[in-house]
Each structure stands twice: as C-alpha cells, then as structure tokens.
C-alpha cells in the first residue's frame, strides 16, 4: 500500500512537471501567435514590408486625408520631421513625401524608424513602396538626410475611413544594431 502511493505520487508529479514546462513554452508561443493575430486583424497598425508598385484604378470619387507624424524615442539625439504634415489623396494614386532626419551627435549613429498606422484596421490598405523604415539608417556625425516615402492607398479601403495617420518613431539603435 505504501510504495503504491509513492509510485502514484511520482507518476502524478511527472505529469504535472510536464504541464509546467508546457505552460512555460506556451508563454513563448504567445509571441508568434500574437504576431499572426495582429496580421489577421491589423491590430496595432502593424504593416508588412515593402510592396511592388502595381497600378490601381484611381478612385476619384473620394479623398482620403493622410497625416504624417514624427516622434523620437526619449533618448534618441536627433532632429526628425516630416516635410508634409498632411495631404489629401485619391485612393489608387501614388504619392511621395519627404522626411528629414539629422544626427545631433558627433559620432556615427545607427537608428531605426518604427511606423505605426492608425486606425489599426486601415493599416493594411496603406501600401508603402519605398520607406526609410524598411531598414536601419546609418548617419555620420552631424549628418542630415532627406528621405522619401512613396505610398498608395488601396482603393478597397472601406468607405468609413476618411483619415489615416502614419506615425514614425526613431529609435537610437547604435548600441544594439545588427549592422555593427
């Protein structure tokens, strides 16, 4: 009877430890799961990378306001602004707008701009052909650069969206850069 209980305990503990390890793994599995869900739902305005320029039928019947915002992560020593604050576009029309960024330090800097589009569900309709956010940008000491963004609003954008905001935040990645 006694060693019977011991055996039962050992077996149960083994199963439970297995569950614990599984749940630890599940915590990590939530990371890719979250990205998949974000892709499907367009949550958080996450957008996919560059797309090829294809031609759409331009929808002259409506105008979308596209706004551009710039921000710096707290410790990033840069000047960063968009040369166009907002622009009215017809869906299907290609436009290019310029952004200006400048390294304020005396050392070379590697920085990365992270885009965010709101409202989130509209993100998948804003297609970018060219963007400085697709890769890390290297700035020489005190260097300033004008960087273009070429984009189009897919005419399938649902009627209810009249304004789309495209926001960039520059992060100083000099310490952690993959380019280093």
């Amino acid at each position: 009877m006694k060693e019977n209980v011991t055996q039962k305990n050992t077996r149960l503990v083994r199963i439970l430890v297995f569950v614990v390890l599984g749940m630890f793994g599940f915590g990590y599995a939530l990371v890719p799961l979250y990205d998949v869900l974000c892709d499907i739902t367009g949550l958080n305005g996450k957008v996919e990378a560059a797309v090829k320029e294809e031609s759409y039928e331009v929808d002259k019947s409506r105008e979308i306001t596209v706004e551009f915002m710039t921000a710096l992560n707290e410790s990033t020593p840069m000047v960063f602004r968009s040369e166009t604050k907002k622009i009215k576009v017809h869906p299907g029309e290609y436009h290019t707008v310029n952004f200006y960024a400048e390294n304020k330090t005396d050392k070379a800097m590697v920085a990365r701009a992270i885009p965010s589009i709101s409202p989130g569900p509209a993100a998948e309709y804003l297609k970018k052909i060219e963007c400085f956010c697709f890769s890390e940008q290297t700035f020489k000491a005190r260097e300033g650069k004008t960087m273009p963004v070429r984009f189009v609003v897919n005419p399938e954008l649902p009627e209810k969206y009249k304004t789309i905001t495209l926001a960039y935040t520059f992060f100083d990645n000099t310490e952690t850069s993959v380019k280093k």
Partner: protein, 537 residues
C-alpha cells in the same frame, strides 16, 4: 519487496515528535510545522506590506509632496502589491492548506514532505531577494506590480534581482501546488470521496491547477523582460520589431487567473465556516464545486478586460466584455449559496462568523464594481483611476484578508489548544470592518472624479476624500496589531480556557479536523479514519 517496505517504515517513523531546538524549523518536513512557518511568515509580510501602505496613505493624506520623493512613492506602490500578493496572501493560503488539507482528508501528511520544506524556504529566499532591491542603486522597481515595459526596463540595478525573485516565488508556488494536487489525489482516506471533500479542499485543488498553469507563463514573461534588457532580444522593444502591448497580453494571461488564486481558497474557507455558525449544511454543495470550476475556467479567457484601452478591434472589446460579465454568474451562485446557508439558520456571531459575513457583503461590492468595469466603453473612464484601486481592494482586503482573519480565529483554538480572547477578537472585527470602508469606499468617488492611480501628488479637488481614506487606512493599520496580540496571546494560553476537541458546537459533523484533539498530536491520521463527516454537503 519487503526490503522496500522496511526502508519506508524507517524513513517515516524515525521521529515521533518534533525535533528539539531551532533546527526543527529549518529541516522540518511535518505538514503542521510547515503550515505554521508559512502562516507566521505571511503574517510578518502582512505587516511589512502594511507599513508600505501606511507610507502611501501618509503621502496622500494631503495634496503636495510631504514625506517621500515620487520615485520612492512608486516603489512603495509596487513593493506593497508584490509583498502583499506573493508574500502575504498567497503564502497564508498555502499555510492553511498545509495545516488543514491533510487533517481534512484524513491523510498522515502532505504527499511530498521534503519538497514542501523546499518550497517554503524558496519563498523566503524570493521575498528576501525582492526586499533587497529596496537598498539597491536606482531603488526598488517602481513600475507598478504589473511590471509593464518599457517603463520597467528603466529600473536601475534592481531589475535582474526583482526578476529572479519572481522566478523563485514562482517555483515555490508551483512546488506548493504540485504537492497539494498530489496530496488530494493520492492521500485521501478511502471514505473521503471527491464529492465529500470539504470545499476548502476543493477550492485549493482548483487553485493549484490554476497555479501550475499560470506561474510558468509569468516566469516566461519576466524572462523575456530580462533578455530584452540584457541580451538584446526585442520581445517588447519596438525598435527591434517587438511590441510592449504583447507583454500586457502575456502578463494578464497570468494576472487575471492570479487574482482568482487569491480568491478561490477564500471562497473555500467561507464555505467551511458559514455552515458551522449557521448550524446548517452548506446550501448547494455541488453547485459550489461547479461554480468554482467554471470561475477557474473562465479566468483563462477574459484577460484583456485589463487592456480595454490599448486599442483592440471592436470585436475583441465585445468578446472580452461579455466573457468577463459571464464570471458574475458563478460568482453570484456562490453569494446566493452563502446567503441561503444563513437563511433561517440558528446563527451565532463569534469572530470567525463576523468576518465571514462581512466578507459576503463587502466582496459583493467588489464584484459589482468589477461588473461596472467589464463594460468596455465605461472602463475608459475607470481605467487606471482610483476606481479600480477601490475595486480590487474590496475584492482583496475585506474578502481575502478578512477570510484569512476568520480562518485564524476559527482554527487557532484547534492549532494551539487554547481559546482566544473573544472580546478583543470582536473589537478587532468591528474596528477593521468600519475602517476598511472608510479607507476604500471614498476611493470610488476619487476614481470617478478622475484621480489617477500610482501618483504621489494630486489636484486639490481630491483632497477631502483622500484625507478621509488615509484616516481609515491608519485606523485599519493600527487595528491589525490587535490580531497580532491575539495570536501571540492565544499561543501563550489565551483566556486560560482550554479548547475542546470540536471547539465550535457540533463542528465535528462538519470536518475531520474537529474529531482530533486540540492541539492535534504531531502526527495525525497515521491510519485513515473509517468514516468522514458529511454535514457540510
């Protein structure tokens, strides 16, 4: 085969009483000793966490900066929560489980006594590590107990220590939970079938499953924080393609069940105490079991009600809103059952019963504010204000903490063999019950008026209610010293009246522990009892 048996005999029976000296408490594997260790430790943490709360309420007594700088203030709110959750409430329930579960199911000890000892000392190590961060460069974590990035990544030298402390606390609770599951599954007296188990045992069984499911997820989340900070991963770092909102999802996948870890055993103790003092069987025993299980299940699928304001798709908001509201149904079943148990009972109002009745009433208030916040559009107003502070303090202080007090009064005579001083006990109850409302009720008004949580200073229109709340806080804090006095006094002999075996009238019909002597001998139920009480069913 016989050699194995002989070895076991040797293993389990070489000591018949406790070891002499202090070393007993270090190396003990006896469930009663370990239960005592857990309970004493959690009481100590209750006062340390309470002292931090007094600092918070002192600073908020008036607008303006009075006593502490803002960084330290935020460290206090963070440490107060972590100490109370992981140092006081959770270990107190593990202590009760250690003491009571073997005695309630007719088992000689916990299933894995050595692991039991280890999980206690790991808890101590974890809490000491956490406390040590107070003295580090840059101060203790000040990001709130939820440890959200990117803010938490700005913690100074303390960050890795806080994270390792979470690891230790997590491993400790996981081991405690595994032990409890093994004990309940494998050590019950043959007559103790699952559906005859006291509800305290049932609720702990379900809680233990919650713990082994969520603590590893939390450990994973803080490990990601650690690697983000020190090893250049970008789980939550936007610059590297990560997303801080992801942390919130992982955290609340743990965090919401975690709040139920603190309330389910509370439900169990309330369901144990109320029938004894109402002198009636518990109303709806099996519905209590099923309600507990459904609450536990639902707790895994409602986490994002803590994140209504992060910008979810409307479908997500709606889903989490309705799923959260569902929890009110099994919770309502419970409140109904407790009330029905008291209905037309021959009630008496000893201190454990007073605390239990206050629990039923005040917990319900916390449940109602929870329902208000589950309405997604309304939650935009309540989120991150003092309203939510009031909500969870109603569900934790006059609920979990009151029930822990009730459990203390209920079982102290059994544990010590002495009766506690009922007059001081009642005084403790009335002071606590009145002051806890002075302390937390005004925080509803502050929150509705827009006072944010986790701030050391506030606009003058919030001054009056804050002052009242602080006064309630000080009375509540001081009143708890009465409990400390009663515990020490009872251990030393109390009123001088010896406790009978069943202590409370007819209690032996409600639980096996009351069939044992008071205090119970060091080893109990070395042979399982032949019959078990069924009055609680």
């Amino acid at each position: 085969m016989s050699a194995v048996v002989a070895e076991h005999e040797h293993d389990e029976h070489h000591d018949h009483g406790p070891q002499k000296g202090l070393l007993r408490w270090v190396i003990t594997t006896n469930h009663k000793d370990i239960g005592t260790l857990y309970l004493v430790f959690s009481l100590a943490m209750f006062f340390i966490g309470g002292a931090m709360a007094m600092i918070i309420r002192a600073e908020l007594f008036e607008p303006g900066m009075q006593f502490v700088d803002p960084q330290f203030f935020n460290s206090m709110t963070t440490m107060h929560a972590l100490v109370m959750v992981f140092g006081a409430v959770m270990p107190a329930f593990v202590g009760l489980a250690n003491w009571m579960i073997p005695m309630m199911i007719g088992a000689p000890d916990m299933a894995l006594p050595r692991m039991n000892n280890m999980s206690f000392w790991m808890l101590v190590a974890g809490v000491l590590l956490l406390a040590s961060t107070l003295f580090m460069e840059g101060g203790a974590p000040a990001s709130g107990w939820t440890l959200y990035p990117p803010l938490v990544l700005q913690t100074g030298a303390a960050l890795p220590f806080a994270i390792f402390s979470v690891h230790l606390l997590g491993i400790s609770s996981i081991m405690g939970a595994i032990n409890i599951i093994a004990t309940i599954f494998n050590m019950r007296a043959p007559a103790m079938t699952l559906m005859k188990m006291p509800l305290f045992v049932w609720t702990w069984l379900i809680t233990a499953f919650l713990l082994i499911a969520i603590m590893p997820v939390f450990a994973g989340a803080v490990t990601m924080l650690l690697t983000d900070r020190f090893f250049d991963t970008s789980f939550f770092d936007a610059a590297g393609g990560g997303d801080p909102v992801l942390y919130q999802h992982i955290f609340w996948f743990f965090g919401h069940p975690e709040v139920y870890v603190m309330i389910l055993p509370t439900f169990g103790v309330a369901s144990t105490i109320i029938p004894v003092f109402a002198r009636k069987p518990l109303f709806g025993y099996s519905s209590m079991v099923y309600a507990t299980a459904s609450i536990a299940f639902l707790s895994f699928i409602v986490w994002a009600h803590h994140m209504f304001t992060v910008g979810m798709p409307v479908a997500g908001e709606l889903y989490f809103m309705y799923a959260t509201m569902l929890i009110a149904i099994p919770t309502g079943v419970k409140v109904f059952n407790w009330t029905a148990t008291m209905w037309k009972g021959s009630m008496t109002f000893e201190t454990p019963m007073l605390f239990s009745i206050a629990f039923v009433v005040l917990f319900t208030i916390g449940g109602f504010t929870g329902l208000m916040m589950s309405i997604a559009p309304s939650d935009f107003q309540y989120h991150d204000t003092y309203f939510i502070v009031a909500h969870f303090h109603y569900t934790l202080v006059p609920a979990s903490v009151f029930i822990l007090m009730a459990a203390g009064y209920y079982w102290l005579p059994k544990w010590t063999g002495n009766m506690y001083n009922e007059r001081i006990g009642k005084l403790h109850f009335w002071l606590s019950a009145v002051s806890v409302n002075i302390l937390f009720f005004p925080q509803h008004f502050l929150g509705l008026a827009g006072m944010p949580r986790r701030i050391p200073d506030y606009a003058v229109q919030f001054a009056d209610w804050n002052m009242i709340s602080s006064i309630g806080g000080f009375i509540f804090g001081i009143s708890q010293l009465l409990f400390l006095y009663i515990v020490i006094d009872t251990i030393k002999g109390g009123t001088g009246e010896k406790a009978t075996d069943e202590v409370w009238e007819d209690a032996h019909k409600h639980g096996l522990e009351w069939t044992l002597p008071s205090p119970p001998p060091y080893h109990t139920f070395t042979t399982p009892p032949a019959t078990v009480p069924t009055e609680h069913i």
